[in-house]
């Protein structure tokens, strides 16, 4: 297990090198001059020249990249072209919102998805199965921005029982939880639908297996056959889906953040791309890559905990 963790972290470092290089180079190829954006439309050629010189933009690309890397190794990810804020500060101020939202959405997704999937597997081909499969299909198909807008319209505008407009309270307060409900449902339903479909097919396969028949032959109660004997085996493929989804959610969710006016990593990245704010883009991309590697590592560790046949030594 330890070997796995060390190996993965080593891979992560290599990966981050590669990604930073690719992102750095692609920003050079991309149209748009950051100096012009910083200086504004009225700046003269000499102003631009001065800005470039002060930011090191006049040096050769490779030298700029190495300067950047040297900074990163000292924990300095650069400063935003737009606000002058340091990249790490910008990300640190946004990431908690994204993290809260991702965790809350995943809780919604898992609670609904796993439960619905298992119920439709054990009642398979009944009306319960049929309706849950249909709802799951709807959940996958409905676009986030529409669902988010509808939820706002119903619960925030008409019924006025839930707030909307950013995450501003502590998660440990009632307001903090209430303001998370609508965005979490919006984001959670799509994942829930996927998890439900996966749980259903996985569960169906497991309850027809030999060891479930053995458990029945021992006289184990039906409920404990489903929720003890079958669940653990059925969850193995579902965890893969959960991991991928969770990684994606942690990388920021542009549309939902936009709809609910949440200051998260997704919006930070999109705004930075629009403004050619290279240091912020670079920083957020590296963050997303690191999150994916770490989440995958955690998933692999969970695999080994659930399925004793998996061993990394």
């Amino acid at each position: 297990m330890l070997v796995l963790i060390v190996r993965r972290l080593f891979q992560l470092v290599l990966l981050l090198f590669g990604i930073s290089f690719i992102v750095f180079m692609s920003m050079f190829i991309a149209p748009g001059d950051p100096a012009a954006i910083i200086a504004g439309p009225t700046a003269s050629a000499s102003d631009l020249e001065a800005i470039r010189a002060s930011m090191g933009l006049d040096k050769p690309v490779l030298v700029q990249y190495l300067d950047y890397l040297a900074g990163v190794l000292h924990g300095d990810f650069g400063y935003s072209y737009q606000t002058g804020q340091s990249v790490s500060d910008a990300i640190i101020s946004r990431f908690p919102n994204t993290f809260k939202l991702a965790v809350a959405s995943m809780i919604v997704a898992m609670a609904i998805g796993i439960f619905a999937g298992i119920i439709s597997a054990i009642k398979h081909n009944s009306w319960i199965d049929f309706s849950s499969t249909t709802i799951a299909l709807l959940g996958v198909s409905i676009p986030n921005f529409w669902l988010g807008a509808m939820l706002i319209l119903v619960f925030a505008v008409n019924l006025q029982i839930l707030p909307v407009g950013g995450l501003s309270y502590s998660i440990f307060s009632l307001e903090g939880i209430k303001e998370l409900v609508l965005p979490a449902i919006t984001l959670g339903t799509a994942s829930a639908a996927l998890i439900a479909r996966m749980s259903r097919s996985s569960m169906l396969e497991v309850i027809q297996s030999d060891y479930i028949r053995t458990a029945k032959a021992k006289g184990v109660k039906k409920r404990s056959i489903v929720w003890v004997h079958a669940l653990r085996n059925a969850m193995i493929p579902v965890i893969t889906i959960i991991g991928i989804d969770f990684g994606a959610l942690l990388g920021g969710t542009v549309i939902t953040e936009q709809v609910f006016a949440i200051n998260g990593v997704g919006r930070l990245m999109i705004d930075a791309i629009a403004a050619r704010d290279f240091p912020i883009i670079q920083g957020t991309v590296l963050l997303v890559a690191a999150i994916f590697v770490v989440v995958n590592l955690i998933i692999d560790i969970i695999y080994a905990l659930i399925d004793p046949r998996i061993s990394y030594d």
Binding site: A215, K216, A217, K218, K222, R232, N233
Partner: protein, 331 residues
């Protein structure tokens, strides 16, 4: 002696989209305490379905259409799922063919072995662990304490089947159903497992229904043999009667198809053709298209079951002919 298990006129159907398939077509047999009954026949003859019917674990599209299954005089058909759960693993146990897949891969041997004890005997975890160690010793597993903490994939096929046996016998059932428990094992392991089952049967005095298609296994452990063909019992009798005086042409065919290494002249007889599908309707005797002795009556009328001796029955018209012959010679 009183019968432990009495099956009468058992009919099992399978629903498919199109029709109803008759997998078991009205079979009757009984089993005494301490007796091993082997059910033999080719794949698809209904032998596994018969054993699954007894423990109430038919696949979801299977249903018992008619008949009666009594354990110790107690009717099992019509019992609720709750009542059956209390009996399963407690009074009736079952061992299956595939030791590689029959144990849950994500739980320890200890968890799976303790389960029937904690459910049926209401033991605490500690008591169940103690009993589990005894059980593993009984089925000849070395280092039982360590094995309890291991997972099924860490054990060999033979060891897993021993665990299955320990699990099935944990609550000392009166009836053990074994569905080809040795088919997936090496021949040497097979012999050990058969010996173990026979010994435990003697110790516990339970009745065993042993499903197999291997005549070698039958010779090894059976007290009585029931031969099934296409959902019907064609012959049933004591093991030495079946091996030395088989009456039904199908039984003769099965015995003729067993290779004999001692006799170099021995010619392997193959039963021509293959078993009919469940939905094939055959007039008269269901075996007549493959039977070398088929007569006119065999094509027209399904034979009744003839009593060869008091404990030996054959479902074949040839029996009537020999009975009539015997009548003629005696009169």
């Amino acid at each position: 002696m009183k019968n432990l298990l009495e099956v009468e006129n058992l009919k099992v159907n399978f629903r498919t989209k199109k029709e109803r398939l008759r997998a078991v077509r009205g079979i009757s047999f009984s089993l005494k305490k301490g007796e091993t009954l082997c059910i033999v026949g080719e794949s698809g003859c209904g032998k596994s379905i018969t054993s699954l019917s007894i423990i109430g674990l038919l696949p979801s599209n299977g249903e018992i259409a008619e008949g009666s299954i009594k354990l110790d005089g107690n009717e099992l058909l019509g019992k609720t799922e709750n009542e059956l759960e209390i009996m399963r693993g407690n009074e009736i146990s079952m061992i299956f063919q595939e030791p590689m897949t029959a144990l849950n891969p994500t739980f320890t041997i200890g968890f799976q072995l303790r389960e029937p004890l904690m459910i049926h005997k209401k033991m605490s975890k500690k008591e169940a662990t103690k009993k589990s160690i005894e059980l593993l010793e009984k089925v000849g597993i070395p280092n039982p304490v360590e094995k309890l903490r291991q997972f099924p994939h860490e054990l060999s096929g033979g060891m897993r089947q021993r665990v299955m046996i320990a699990m099935a016998l944990a609550c000392e059932p009166s009836l053990l159903l074994a569905d080809e428990p040795t088919t997936a094992l090496d021949v040497t392991i097979q012999a050990q497992i058969l010996e173990l089952m026979d010994e435990l049967k003697r110790q516990m005095g339970m009745g065993v229904v042993f499903v197999t298609h291997d005549m070698g296994v039958v010779a090894e452990i059976a007290d009585r043999v029931m031969v099934m063909y296409a959902g019907e019992v064609v012959e049933i009798g004591d093991v030495d009667r079946i091996f030395n005086h088989p009456q039904h042409p199908y039984t003769k065919g099965l015995l003729g198809a067993v290779p004999n290494v001692d006799d170099e002249e021995h010619h392997l007889n193959i039963i021509p053709g293959s078993m009919p599908n469940l939905d094939d309707e055959i007039s008269g005797c269901r075996f007549h298209p493959r039977c070398p002795y088929a007569m006119d009556i065999c094509r027209k009328k399904n034979p009744t079951t003839f009593q060869v001796t008091s404990s030996h029955q054959s479902k074949c018209w040839l029996q009537e002919v020999t009975d009539v012959d015997r009548l003629h010679t005696t009169s």
